[in-house]
């Protein structure tokens, strides 16, 4: 029902009108906080009104006028007096009635959108009649406006109400009343914790279940979905089962090799950091062995001083000592992994030991003692246990590589077919239900169970809490899963106690599962950042699926689209059209001039995934070659399912994972800047990534300070929010950036709105890059010094480093490019 062409045109026209820099909704008070740009409020009201119209059975001919009318329903908010009021400079609330000048302007916009005559007149009526009049002048104008059908008006009212929701409790008011008149029940699900990957699974499971029950999504929010339908009630057990199914199918969609890799921690710390992943797929254990095989601690281990000394004491010297030492070290590490695996599958222990002994031609009794080896086993005991074993099995006489291969293949064979008893995540699914609200027709189906009060009996009797989300904790935090902070304070720690050793922070079962899932997706807390993208455009389920899959594919499709790539920054400054990106995110490759490279890569991926062109026909792609098929996918001609499948299996260099639902997208991207760059500079780079994503992909972006902590701010107060140090925040404020609770303002009343700030920061990043190439950058200080020094000073620094005449030969082009970026920086940042 949504007139798609009209939507794309509206996005383009209204952006050109500058509506993305005007405020439509503003509130900072707790529980009501949200800031919406007029562009997105108008588009969302129009899109949601169309979804509602479809539900209410509005005649097809009203579709375009309804959409266009809702675009203009808050036209009077473009007035300066309203913008002043929204930004705290006085001003007043506007009436809905257009002045003659405004009406003329509104008609001009309608004409640009392709609406004339009856359509334009009806659109203007919709714009005026969608709200209860607040002033006498509006009553008079509404009476004079002429009628529109009741259903059209109801759809318009619903559109505005739903995108202006303060809280879910409002749904039982007018929204419920209007939909009730047409026999529909309103339902919603909402989570109390937004954890990134896990919550995506919850949203997917609930949306699917509600769909099966006959409820259709009306609007997506980061923490929930509002539905309408005539379906039956939903049972609590059904929700639990749906969550379990979704979790299992998510894990099965992952590469088993990756599961095994993700299960592994660190050979000298927690060896299996996420053993439950090994239970998710029978092939995960094989994946673990393949990963272990390539690790240094097996392939070329270091021989410790203790082991070296012990071997020397026993008469080994020179090359022989090195050889025996390396073999003992490799064997020790392999037996540690083997032992850890057996502890995950205790029911298979006896059988596995027997099989390993058979493969190596020894008695099981000779393998058993080796399973006591650990990282702290003394060198003397290690040599006593392993040297005779390696000698007896003939492994000692083999070359080191052959020895490792033989021992490993024996261990692989011994552990083949390890399977868990099932029900791996039943408890987690139950816990997820405890964090959920599900209301249908004003009645609660599920309400979250409150967390136990903590200090009822003083600290000694309290409940240890998860340092990430506050639920009762069950597991020790592991640095390789949760990142920094694993050895930090927790609520039961006594004052002055040492942080470290076994004094770890604790996490709950769900945060552990979240960390495990992220790990399975390739996320490493020390090297990656997390970006939450909340769609600024209210999408239908079909559009959301297509759009996010295409965004994923666009980002994963090539290094050129990496937000860390200078080539991308240059194109970004040259001007990308966000309207075009909304139409087809894959068109970014076109805009960036990287189409050929993307096509080639995509063709390779399609070939790898499908093997035969015939299989692609199922996705609506008829092509004679892989290149032709890739071209069709990039043109957006393929079935959205194909994009989804492709995005699911793709991994790009700078991205660990991208997961999307209609609610939000979570992007895990490599941390920006050099490894040792100052944190302040990295923060600015991170802010720029977030702002680029905001501009390009029409999404509000939130970057959490604690990467694993749940996402606490599902209602954006600006374009993007990243953690900033206090001095950085004041530097940005000095330049005119509005920071509302840390959210960067998008409004033009700010001296430096979000999009301009992004351009300034991109120019600064490019300047650093140019200076780095000539070795006149500011070293580890990175980006910040470029923003603190006058542009001329940067220029003189570059000029001094150029050999010969700075305006001669190739130098001239270098200087001109540098001057261009300096101009952008000067105009946006210094003026």
């Amino acid at each position: 029902m949504v007139p798609r062409e009209l939507f794309y045109r509206a996005l383009d026209v209204l952006r050109r009108e500058g509506w993305h820099r005007k405020v439509a909704k503003y509130a900072s008070a707790q529980g009501r906080a949200r800031w919406q740009p007029l562009l997105y409020h108008a588009l969302n009201s129009a899109l949601t009104a169309c979804t509602a119209a479809d539900l209410l059975g509005v005649e097809e001919r009203y579709c375009r006028p309804l959409f266009a009318g809702m675009l203009l329903h808050d036209y009077t908010k473009t007035r300066q007096s309203f913008q002043d009021m929204a930004t705290g400079k006085g001003g007043e609330a506007p009436s809905k009635t257009l002045t003659p000048g405004e009406e003329e302007e509104a008609r001009r916009i309608l004409s640009q959108l392709g609406l004339e005559g009856w359509e334009a007149e009806t659109a203007l009526r919709v714009a005026l009649l969608n709200e209860t009049p607040a002033r006498p002048v509006d009553v008079a104008a509404q009476l004079a406006a002429g009628p529109i059908p009741g259903k059209v008006r109801d759809a318009a009212v619903l559109g505005d109400l739903l995108v202006s929701l303060w809280g879910y409790q409002e749904l039982s008011g007018r929204v419920g009343e209007i939909l009730g008149r047409y026999g529909y029940r309103v339902a919603y699900h909402r989570v109390t914790q937004v954890r990134g990957v896990l919550t995506q699974i919850v949203h997917r499971a609930l949306t699917r279940l509600m769909g099966e029950k006959g409820y259709r999504p009306l609007i997506y929010l980061a923490d929930g979905v509002v539905y309408a339908g005539r379906g039956a009630r939903v049972g609590v057990d059904e929700v639990g089962q749906a969550l379990e199914r979704e979790l299992a199918s998510f894990l099965q969609s992952l590469d088993p090799g990756r599961l095994g890799e993700a299960a592994f921690g660190n050979i000298v710390q927690t060896v299996l950091k996420a053993p439950e992943l090994l239970e998710a797929s029978p092939r995960a254990v094989e994946g673990l062995w393949s990963y272990v095989e390539a690790q240094r601690f097996v392939a070329s281990p270091s021989v410790t001083g203790g082991l070296r000394g012990e071997l020397a004491r026993r008469g080994f010297r020179g090359v022989e000592l090195e050889d025996v030492g390396a073999k003992i070290a490799s064997a020790k590490n392999l037996f540690i992994v083997f032992k850890e695996l057996l502890s995950v599958f205790p029911e298979h222990r006896g059988e596995a030991v027997k099989r390993l002994a058979e493969k190596l031609g020894v008695e099981p009794g000779q393998v058993e003692p080796l399973l006591q080896i650990g990282n702290t086993t003394k060198a003397g005991l290690l040599v006593d246990l392993l040297y005779p074993f390696l000698e007896k099995t003939g492994l000692l006489s083999l070359d080191h590589g052959d020895m490792v291969e033989r021992l490993l293949s024996a261990m692989k064979a011994a552990t083949r077919g390890f399977e868990a008893g099932g029900e791996a995540f039943t408890r987690e699914a139950g816990m997820l239900v405890e964090e959920l609200y599900l209301w249908v027709d004003g009645e609660p189906v599920i309400v979250p169970r409150p967390v136990k009060p903590v200090y009822e009996k003083g600290k000694s009797g309290g409940v240890e809490l998860c340092f990430l989300c506050g639920r009762p904790a069950e597991h020790e935090a592991v640095a390789s899963l949760t990142g920094d902070g694993a050895e930090s304070f927790h609520n039961l720690r006594a004052g002055g106690e040492r942080s470290g050793g076994r004094n770890k922070a604790k996490i709950c079962r769900l945060c552990r599962l979240e960390a495990t899932l992220r790990s399975a997706l390739g996320f490493r807390p020390d090297a990656y950042d997390v970006y939450y993208l909340m769609p600024a455009i209210a999408m239908s389920p079909q559009y959301a699926s297509h759009y996010w899959s295409a965004v994923s594919l666009a980002l994963l499709g090539g290094g050129e689209l990496s937000l860390h790539s200078p080539a991308f920054w240059r194109k970004y400054l040259d001007g990308l059209s966000p309207a075009e990106v909304a139409r087809n995110p894959l068109s970014l490759h076109e805009a960036l001039g990287t189409r050929a490279a993307a096509r080639e890569r995509l063709a390779g991926r399609l070939r790898e995934l499908f093997g035969s062109l015939d299989l692609l026909r199922e996705y609506g792609v008829e092509a004679g070659s892989w290149e032709e098929a890739a071209e069709k996918v990039l043109r957006g001609e393929a079935d959205p399912g194909l994009l989804r499948d492709l995005a699911a299996v793709s991994t790009g260099g700078d991205y660990a994972a991208l997961l999307a639902s209609g609610n939000y997208m979570v992007v895990m991207a490599r941390a920006p800047g050099g490894r040792d760059e100052a944190e302040a500079s990295k923060m600015l780079r991170r802010l720029n990534r977030a702002l680029m994503l905001y501009k390009m992909f029409h999404a509000f972006v939130y970057v959490p300070g604690e990467k694993m902590a749940p996402f606490p701010e599902p209602r954006p107060l600006g374009a993007a929010k990243v953690p900033l140090k206090a001095d950085l925040a004041s530097l940005l404020r000095e330049r005119g950036v509005v920071l509302r609770e840390g959210w960067v303002g998008f409004e033009e009343e700010a001296g430096l709105p979000a999009e301009e700030l992004s351009e300034a920061l991109t120019a600064a990043e490019l300047l650093v890059e140019e200076m780095r190439r000539r070795r006149v950058d500011f070293g580890n200080a990175g980006l910040l010094p470029v923003l603190e020094r006058p542009p001329g000073m940067l220029l003189s620094r570059l000029v001094a480093a150029l050999p010969g005449n700075p305006l001669g030969g190739r130098n001239l082009e270098v200087v001109r490019v540098f001057l261009r970026y300096l101009d952008v920086l000067e105009e946006r940042w210094w003026m």
Binding site: E734, P790, P791, G792, M793, L795, S796, V799, N805, P806, L807, G808, L812, V815, R816, L819, L822, E826, W830, M831
Partner: protein, 151 residues
């Protein structure tokens, strides 16, 4: 009768860099225009050469050696005549220079010394950037012209 030991007196807040951005820009434009009339005896690309007499003007302002408008203008004219290809200073150049010096003196009067030094540094590098950009444009135009000739 007791007398207060400390007297709190409210003072007018001194302007910061944000408030004087417009004035700084005007001064930069004037100094840049003045340098359009200055052709150095010997071309070079060091900052010293590019800034010509303006560099000297800004250092003398920073050191506080000269305060008076005429003295400052005279100082610059002298440098101009000694380092330019021709010792003739056109009246238009003189007028622009006088206007720039007047504005500089007015700015100095209203700024605390910390901000004044910062403002001088900004003016210095902004003029440098403007001059270098012009030189780059000229070089590019010349190169394009050469390229066109070859075709």
């Amino acid at each position: 009768m007791s007398r207060p030991l400390v007297v709190m007196r409210e003072e007018k807040k001194a302007p910061g860099m944000e408030e004087i951005r417009g004035e700084v820009r005007e001064i930069v434009e004037l100094l840049d225009r003045y340098l359009d009339y200055y052709v150095p005896r010997q071309y070079g690309f060091s900052k010293h050469t590019i800034m010509g007499p303006v560099g000297k003007l800004l250092s003398v302002l920073e050191s506080g050696k000269l305060y008076d408008k005429d003295a400052l203008v005279g100082y610059v004219v002298n440098v101009h005549r000694n380092t330019a290809r021709s010792d003739y200073v056109p009246p238009e150049a003189l007028r622009v220079l006088e206007e720039a010096v007047e504005k500089l003196i007015a700015l100095r009067a209203k700024l605390p010394s910390r901000v004044w030094i910062k403002a001088l540094r900004e003016i210095d590098y902004a003029v440098y950037k403007a001059r270098f950009a012009k030189a780059a444009e000229r070089a590019a135009a010349k190169k394009a012209g050469e390229g066109g000739g070859e075709e």
